[in-house]
Amino acid sequence: MEWDWDFVWQIMPTLLEGFKITILATVLGAAVAAVIGLALAIARRSPIAAVSRTVGFVSEFIRGTPLLVQLYFIFYVLPDIGIRLSPLVAGVIGIGVHYATYTAEVYRAGIENVPRGQWEAAKAANLTTRQAWIHVILPQAVPPMIPALANYFIAMFKETPLLSAITVLELMNQAKSIANSNYRYIEPMTLVGVFFLVVSLISVVGLRWLEERYARMDD
């Protein structure tokens, strides 16, 4: 079987349709991961031991188990207890929560990297806790986090093909259905690989730029 360019152009619109969903899932998933990750990081710092321990264990559990199984769990188990989600929503929640446990670590490291002296200086300058967070801690903690967060969002983008397993019609699923109905695997599967590779390589360049721009803030 040989590579057929006519077939490539014929299937391109369908693949692009799927690619749009892939991008949508990545953006929504990244938003979920960014918000829930922050919540997890704050809960992890809670002075109440029961809260911080529970959150720690749950994050550990989510990070130690496969995303695919978590997606199945959300997609198949939740409807049994009355929560019906569309495949895309289930996928975004699954992928977002999975990566939230990773972004939480980034937030935690970023916050802990702000020297104690800054907190003390904020106190000495008579700032309230809120002012200390907004004007002193976060402006120093956030920029170094950006490259690390971006790194996880790229990783998340690469994981979106898993959503095809819970019937989200993203790039991989479109490619699979094209492959199955035409019984031609070479073009669709290779194109999916090329799509992901191209976006990843471009984002690596973007990541380098972010690192140069933000990573060195401490001196």
Binding site: P66, L162, M172, V192, G193, V204
Partner: protein, 219 residues
């Protein structure tokens, strides 16, 4: 009333397949990590270019896409693989690419003065790597290798999509036959987590063992 004992043995059979995949995949990943990681530090441009291409290629797309490509596209090129072979190949090559960066980073983290001392002692390049650099670099690699191994374990769930009867596949079988979703998926989540825990405990043990002989070498 459902007789769970039969289904439990089905799931345990799946656990065995997952275990097999993890062990064989890790072995391949380890070999690829050292080949590509040291290859990137080679004197020869061609070796460096080859190693870099391998690493960027496999880190640029997800394990899912690679697995489908290996399983569905390679047969057209004349390589027909069983699902197990395809799984081990894709997992090993994918995680190997990530681990290669770890090898490179750890080798580069060993101080320059060590290399200079080797030159002064007239050691050959091989002797330098084998007796001076690697013994110091290995303990640096282990914590990240542990994460890589857990990523590989999580990656094995994807092989269920090419009909390999691993944990995730068996859970789907149980779901299809009993209509119960909570029990099979919770069981396999716990099993995956237990396996990840075993990996991290044994890696920590290995790390302690390897650093024991290095007492006094590091400051």
């Amino acid at each position: 009333m459902i007789d769970w004992s039969g289904y439990l043995s089905l799931i345990l059979e799946g656990a065995l397949v997952t275990l097999q995949l993890t062990v064989m995949g890790s072995a391949l990943a380890l070999v690829m990590a050292f080949l590509a990681g040291l290859g990137r530090l080679s004197r020869f441009f061609l070796v460096r270019a080859l190693a870099t291409t391998y690493i960027e290629f496999f880190r640029g797309t997800s394990i899912f896409v690679q697995l489908f490509w290996v399983y569905f596209v390679l047969p057209f090129a004349g390589f027909t693989l069983t699902p197990l072979q395809a799984g081990v190949l894709a997992l090993g090559l994918n995680v190997g690419a990530y681990a290669a960066e770890v090898v490179r980073g750890a080798v580069k983290a060993v101080g320059r003065e060590q290399t200079e001392a080797c030159t002064a002692l007239n050691l050959s390049r091989y002797q330098r790597m084998r007796h001076v650099i690697l013994p110091q670099a290995l303990p640096l690699m282990l914590p990240t290798f542990c994460n890589n191994a857990i990523e590989l374990l999580k990656g094995t769930a994807v092989v269920s999509l090419i009909s390999l009867t691993d944990l995730t596949f068996q859970a789907q079988v149980v779901r299809a036959q009993t209509g119960n979703t909570l029990i099979p998926f919770t069981t396999i989540l716990i099993l995956y987590f237990a396996m990840a825990w075993v990996i991290s405990v044994s890696m920590r043990w290995l790390e302690r063992r390897m650093t024991r002989n290095l007492d006094g070498v590091r400051i």
